[in-house]
C-alpha cells in the first residue's frame, strides 16, 4: 500500500474517474491554474482537454445551474469551490433545484453531480474564509453530504460520489490536504457508512473531517490513562450511519461528538438527538458536543486560537463524561510535546496564504 497525500488522493480519484467515464467533467475557478486547487486538479487539463476541464468565470450561481443542466442530460460534473463561503452564492441552485430535480422530474432525471467545498482555517483567514457550514446542506432532503478525514477515504468516497446517481456535497478541510495516508484500494467506501477507527468500551467519540485529526492527536493520552475510547469517523453526514453509532453507544453508554463547526443547530446536535431518541436506554451519562465557539473566527492568531477546537478542551470533556480525574502535570506535558506552537497552522512548515 502506498502512502500519498489527501490532496493527491483527491487528484487520483478525479483522474481515474475521468479516465473511466467520459461523462465526468470538471468546472471551477482555478482548476486549470498553476496551483490547481491545492494540487487536486493538477495535469487534468492537459490530459482531458478544455472540453472536460472547464475553468469558469467568477459566477458561482450560474456555474452551479449550468452543471445541473449538464448533469440531467448525462454528464457528471464536479464543481470546486476554493472556500465553502463562495458556494453560498449558489444556495438557491443547490437547495431548490439540485436537491429536488430528481423528485421534480418525477424520477425521470437524476443529478449525478459533485460539489467540492473546501473549508479554510488558519493563517489569519478571518471570518469569511473559515466557516464549515456542513449543516446547511445536511438538512436538505435530496442531497448527500460527505466529509472524509483521510486520504484513503477521500479517494474512495470521491470516486463513489462521482459514480453516484444523485448530488453529493463533498467537504474537504484544507488542513487535511497535506496529510499523508495509506490508500486501501480494495474496499469501496459507500456513502452513508461510518468507520470505527478505534475500538473501545468506556465511551464513544464521534467525529469527522479535520476534527477527527484533533481527536486522534489526543488518543495516546487516553491510552496512557487507560481510557478505552471507541472512535467513530462519520465520513458521511447525510445519510448518517445511525446504526454504527447506536451500536457503539449500546456498548459504551457514553458519547461525545467533536464537531468541525459551530455547535448550535450543528452537525453534533443531530447526532446527539438521534442517539437519545433511539438509544436512550443505553445512555449512562449526559451526551456532550463540542465544536468551535459559536462566534466568528478572527484573523489574529490570539483570537483565532480561542475559537478553534483544542486538545485540552477535548480531553477535559472526555474525562468529565467518564467521571475520571486528570493528572494535570501529565496533561500539560502531553500537550506541550504534541501541540504546534501556533494554532493558526497545522504543521510547522505550513504557510499561508491562500
Amino acid at each position: 500500500m502506498k502512502e500519498i497525500k489527501f490532496s493527491e488522493a483527491i487528484l487520483e480519484a478525479i483522474d481515474q474517474s475521468m479516465q473511466k467515464d467520459k461523462s465526468v467533467i470538471l468546472m471551477g475557478l482555478g482548476i486549470t491554474d498553476p496551483k490547481s486547487i491545492f494540487g487536486t486538479t493538477k495535469g487534468l487539463l492537459k490530459k482531458y482537454g478544455v472540453k472536460r476541464v472547464i475553468e469558469t468565470p467568477t459566477s458561482e450561481n450560474a456555474v452551479t445551474g449550468i452543471a445541473l443542466g449538464a448533469s440531467i442530460k448525462g454528464l457528471k460534473p464536479i464543481i470546486t469551490h476554493q472556500r465553502v463561503e463562495f458556494a453560498l452564492l449558489s444556495m438557491e441552485q443547490i437547495i431548490n433545484q439540485i436537491a429536488k430535480w430528481n423528485f421534480m422530474s418525477a424520477g425521470k432525471q437524476s443529478v449525478p453531480l459533485v460539489i467540492r467545498m473546501i473549508i479554510g482555517k488558519g493563517w489569519g483567514q478571518g471570518p469569511q474564509h473559515s466557516q464549515s457550514l456542513e449543516v446547511l446542506f445536511s438538512h436538505i432532503p435530496g442531497l448527500k453530504v460527505v466529509a472524509p478525514s483521510n486520504a484513503s477515504d477521500a479517494k474512495s468516497l470521491l470516486m463513489t460520489s462521482i459514480k453516484e446517481k444523485h448530488p453529493v456535497i463533498f467537504f474537504e478541510h484544507r488542513w487535511l490536504h497535506d496529510i499523508k495516508g495509506k490508500i486501501e484500494n480494495k474496499k469501496e467506501v459507500k456513502i452513508g457508512k461510518a468507520k470505527i477507527i478505534k475500538k473501545g468500551k468506556d465511551l464513544t467519540i464521534v467525529s469527522f473531517s479535520e476534527a477527527l485529526i484533533q481527536v486522534m492527536r489526543i488518543y495516546n493520552f487516553l491510552k496512557m490513562n487507560n481510557v478505552s475510547a471507541e472512535i467513530i469517523d462519520l465520513r458521511s453526514l447525510r445519510p448518517l450511519d445511525e446504526k454504527t453509532i447506536i451500536k457503539s453507544v449500546s456498548k459504551t453508554g457514553k458519547i461525545i461528538v467533536i464537531d468541525n463547526g459551530w455547535t448550535k443547530y450543528g452537525i453534533a446536535s443531530e447526532i446527539i438527538s438521534m442517539v437519545v431518541e433511539k438509544g436512550f436506554k443505553f445512555l449512562k451519562s449526559p451526551p456532550k458536543k463540542i465544536g468551535i465557539e459559536n462566534i466568528s473566527i478572527s484573523s489574529s492568531r490570539t483570537l483565532a486560537e480561542k475559537t478553534y477546537l483544542n486538545s485540552k478542551q477535548i480531553i477535559h470533556n472526555i474525562f468529565k463524561i467518564i467521571n475520571k480525574n486528570i493528572d494535570k502535570k501529565k496533561l500539560n506535558e502531553f500537550i506541550k510535546k504534541n501541540e504546534n506552537d501556533h494554532t493558526d497552522i497545522p504543521y510547522q512548515d505550513f504557510r499561508g496564504p491562500f
Binding site: I25, K51, R52, T56, P57, S59, N61, A62, V63, T64, G65, I66, A67, L68, G69, A70, S71, I72, K73, G74, L75, E92, Q93, N96, Q97, N102, F103, M104, S105, A106, G107, K108, Q109, S110, P141, G142, K165, H166
Partner: protein, 315 residues
C-alpha cells in the same frame, strides 16, 4: 408564408388560448388546487418560437409555462392531469402547473423560481456541445428574470463558450403587479446589455405570431450555423391576473386603458384575420376543442397518485 404554416400557427395560438380559458373557467371548481400562471394574451410568443424548433430541440421554462409546453408539443392529457394533481400528470402530480415537462418533446421542465432555469438551460447546451449533439436549446423567461444576477452570469458563460442557445425574453411589462418603471431605469437597454456580453439581440412584436415565426426562423438558422447565443425580446402583454384564473384590471395596478389597447392587439384575432379562410379555421378549432375537452375529462377521471411513489425518488 404558405397557408399550411399559417394554419399551423393559428392552431397553436388557438390551442393555448382555449386551454388557458378552460383552466380559467374551471378553476373555481377547486379541483385544480395549485397556483396557475396563465398565458392569455401572450400566445404568439411560444407559438412563433416553437414552430421553428425540431422535436429534439430542447426548451426550458418558468412559472408561466403552459404556452411553451403546448407550443413545443407537450402531451395535453399529461399537462391537464398535472394541474389536477393526478398520477397521469407529466410529473405524476408532484409539481402542478409550475413544473410542466415532457422529455420526449424536449420540454425539460419549468420551475417557479424567477431566473433559475436560465443557467440550467445553458448547462443543457453545454452538454450538447460536449457531446456533439445538434439540438438547439431555447430558454424562456420573463423580463423580470433579467433583473436576476444569474441571467447576466449565464449569458456571459453562454457567449464565452459559443453555446447554441436562443434566449427568449417575454416582455409583458410586469413582474407580478410591478411595472417596469419601478424595477429598471428608464433608459435600460437590453440590446446593449446583450451585445456587451457578445450575444446577438433581436426584438419583435410578440403579439404577431407570423412576425415572431419569421424572425425566429432566421435567428434559429443563424444560431445553428455559427453557434452564437442569441436573445430575442418579444413585447407582449398578460391579460389576466399574474397568478390565478381571473381578470384583475379592477386592481388598477396597470394604467387605465392599457389592457384594452393590448386586447386590441389580440394575437389570436390577428392570425385569424391573416388566414381569412373561415371553414378551415372552424374545422381546426372544432378538432382542437374536442382534444382539449377530452384532456380535461381525462384529467378529472384520473386517479390521484399513491404515496408509494415517493420511495422512487432520492431524498
Amino acid at each position: 408564408m404558405n397557408r399550411n404554416t399559417k394554419l399551423n400557427l393559428f392552431k397553436i395560438v388557438y390551442k393555448i388560448r382555449k386551454v388557458e380559458e378552460t383552466i380559467s373557467k374551471l378553476y373555481s371548481e377547486n379541483e385544480m388546487r395549485c397556483p396557475v400562471h396563465l398565458s392569455i394574451g401572450q400566445e404568439a410568443v411560444a407559438s412563433g418560437v416553437c414552430s421553428n424548433l425540431k422535436e429534439n430541440d430542447e426548451i426550458i421554462s418558468t412559472h408561466r409555462s403552459h404556452a411553451h409546453y403546448i407550443a413545443k408539443g407537450g402531451n395535453l392529457n399529461s399537462m391537464i392531469s398535472e394541474i389536477y394533481g393526478k398520477k397521469s400528470g407529466c410529473a405524476l402530480g408532484i409539481g402542478g402547473s409550475m413544473h410542466l415537462q415532457d422529455l420526449k418533446k424536449g420540454i425539460n421542465g419549468s420551475v417557479p423560481i424567477v431566473g433559475s432555469t436560465i443557467p440550467i438551460g445553458v448547462g443543457i447546451a453545454l452538454f450538447n456541445k460536449i457531446k456533439k449533439k445538434n439540438n438547439l436549446v431555447t430558454i424562456f423567461f420573463g423580463e423580470g428574470a433579467t433583473e436576476e444576477g444569474v441571467f447576466h452570469e449565464s449569458i456571459n458563460f453562454a457567449a464565452l463558450h459559443n453555446l447554441p442557445i436562443l434566449f427568449v425574453c417575454e416582455n409583458n411589462l410586469y413582474s407580478v403587479y410591478t411595472g417596469l418603471e419601478q424595477r429598471q431605469p428608464k433608459k435600460r437597454d437590453l440590446k446593449k446589455i446583450c451585445e456587451g456580453n457578445s450575444l446577438a439581440y433581436y426584438h419583435e412584436d410578440g403579439n404577431d405570431v407570423i412576425k415572431v415565426h419569421n424572425k425566429v426562423k432566421e435567428i434559429v438558422k443563424r444560431i445553428r450555423k455559427n453557434n452564437q447565443p442569441t436573445l430575442i425580446e418579444l413585447s407582449t402583454y398578460r391579460w389576466l391576473e399574474h397568478c390565478g384564473p381571473n381578470w384583475d384590471d379592477n386592481l388598477r395596478y396597470r394604467p387605465s386603458g392599457e389592457l384594452k389597447k393590448w386586447i386590441k392587439k389580440c394575437p389570436l384575432a390577428r392570425i385569424k384575420k391573416q388566414i381569412k379562410n373561415k371553414p378551415l379555421i372552424s374545422r381546426a378549432t372544432k378538432q382542437l376543442d374536442k382534444e382539449i375537452n377530452s384532456a380535461f375529462v381525462f384529467a378529472k377521471n384520473s386517479k390521484f397518485p399513491s404515496n408509494k411513489i415517493i420511495k422512487n425518488f432520492y431524498f
